[in-house]
Amino acid sequence: MARLPASGSPAVPRPGPGRARLEPAQGSGQGFWALAWYRFRHHKVALAGAAVVLVLVLVTLLAGPIAPYRFEDIDLTARLRSPSWRHLLGTDTIGHDVFTRLLYAGRVSLLVGFSAAVAAASAGILIGATAGFYGGWLDNVLMRITDVSLALPDLPILIVLSKYLGGSVAGIVFVISLFAWRGVARLVRGEVLKLRGQEFADAARALGATDLRILARHLVPNTLAPVIVAATLIVGGAILTEAALSFLGIGIQPPVPSWGNMLQNAQDFILSAPRRRPQGRSGPPAQALGHRAGSRDA
């Protein structure tokens, strides 16, 4: 991995008096969460993204009541229909209602996305915090592995893996988290290393706090903000990866709908029946867009 230029220089400048600080020093009277909420509210893009995500989550969770059909329902008499009041987004090659399947597929996607993010973030925090806090050879080996594996293109390996482990939602979540924890681990390790050198961590040690207490009360809570951002990115990334794998035919298998396998279906159809509009076009992109937007700077 390329090293970024170190800012460390022989004479560390003291944060001496005379340097202007423009941040409000006193009297604002808010806790950390209040401050975070304040910033978030004033970030229009983040707010818009969050709104989109919220709507999507609600809609997919309520897929049962909302959807007009069951996802496996097939109407062989009504194949490849254009959007109509009966089939809001039309039907696919074998007569599935596209709108219904889009909703259920969203459920699968969100499930995969959130599960992978939670699994990867937990593993990442655990490994990253241990490596960063204890250092030494363990850290060295762990980080070399992460460095190298981060330099590898993950999708090709995922493709091979999911051929055997995929197919089911659980399998896909497992395979995706297998690769997603590395980023979190590296992030947490970096943050922990930085925080460990901060004086409040030393203060806790000087007070006689145990390692566990220092980690749990002082270090990890301070890494959570960037971890949450990274985790939301994992949600988006996992949804895309699942879609990609399903699109290639090695992810979620029909009849369970997934945005990926629906697109695969659509592609076959575009090339074979060129005059129709492809279906599912607003699915994954809008979803992912919401996620990315929502996670940025949050």
Binding site: A2, A151, P156, I159, K163, F247, G260, Q267, R281
Partner: protein, 321 residues
């Protein structure tokens, strides 16, 4: 510098060994091998045949022995034999590597060519209309999956408007030489754009934020205090400092592009190693899959090495380390 490069090259050896072990282990752990597949495919095969075949292929040996044997042969350029294509894996890969590399290189160049100027403009004219447009584009770019965007491109340019071929790499029956190259140029734009979009977006974002950060640095203020005109301050003082970190992003982008290749190539029926990987995985052609992953790993790690070296050349703080 020379010693540094040599040291890094030597370091690549254990890394590649590690990767090959991991990949080999993963494939070995996968249920079902070539013979098991035969078992379900060929009628009338007996258990005795299975034992005999497994022995012929060396599959009855423990995995570590098999790995060592594989490694021995791989070191001599022999990555095994493809069952489906009935060709040596190395020939198979080398035949298609060119297609993938040209696609990836095209995507990278396209991404950079758009991202760097847009990112710089965006940073220097923060909150301008174009900055907002660029930001919006960035969101779009990083959110859109390659395969969806590819299908849309095919649908619009290939199917609806008939401007460009919807897939493939060459029209049938084109004579080799210049006509072939000219013909190829029609097939390149869509997959290149599809593959390059994400990187275009993320490079733009990176250039913009990097530039914004540099412009706030003390030394830029020093340059202004010298009375240098604004463009000189930007060109001589800000730009280089802002673009050096972009090199790091390139290092991360190369594996990313190689990762995107299977999808793009599948969507556009582009005969590269990515599509080959997908096909061979679907067809349980292990030797091919393993070979391709090793090739991709070498390319990714090689790119990383180049990035490190480039960094050393560009940044005097590292050059004089």
């Amino acid at each position: 510098m020379q010693r540094y490069v040599i040291r890094r090259l030597v370091q690549m050896v254990p890394i590649l060994l590690g990767i090959s072990i991991v990949v080999f282990a993963l494939l070995a752990a996968a249920p079902g091998d070539q013979v098991d597949l035969l078992l379900s495919g060929v009628p009338g095969i007996t258990p005795a045949d299975v034992i005999r075949l497994k022995h012929v292929y060396g599959l009855d040996e423990p995995p570590h022995i098999r790995y060592v044997k594989w490694l021995e042969r791989a070191a001599q350029g022999d990555f095994g034999w493809s069952r489906t294509y009935r060709e040596p894996v190395s020939t198979l890969i080398l035949d298609r590597l060119g297609n993938t590399v040209s696609l990836a290189a095209g995507a990278l160049v396209l991404a950079l060519a758009v991202a760097v100027p847009v990112g710089i403009y965006s940073a220097l004219h923060q909150y301008s209309a174009l900055d907002y447009a660029a930001t919006l584009f960035t969101f779009f770019g990083v959110s859109v999956p390659v395969f969806w965007f590819g299908i849309m491109l095919i649908y619009l340019f290939g199917v609806n408007w008939h401007l460009l071929p919807p897939g493939g790499i060459n029209s049938p029956g084109v004579t080799p030489g210049l006509p072939l190259v000219a013909d190829r140029l029609k097939y390149l734009p869509l997959p290149t754009l599809a593959l390059g979009l994400v990187f275009m977006a993320s490079f733009t974002r990176y250039t913009r934020s990097s530039m914004l950060e540099v412009v706030r640095q003390d030394f830029v203020r020093t340059a202004r205090a010298k009375g240098l005109p604004g463009r000189v301050v930007i060109r001589r003082h800000a730009l280089r400092n802002a673009l050096i970190p972009l090199v790091t992003v390139l290092g991360v982008a190369v594996p990313g592009i190689l990762a995107g290749a299977p999808l793009t190539e599948t969507v556009f029926s582009w005969p590269g190693v990515g599509k080959l990987l997908v096909d061979s995985t679907l067809g349980a052609d292990y030797a091919v899959a393993q070979g391709i992953i090793m090739f991709i790993a070498v390319m990714a790690i090689g790119a990383n090495l180049l990035v490190d070296i480039a960094y050393g050349i560009l940044d005097p703080r590292i050059r004089f380390d």
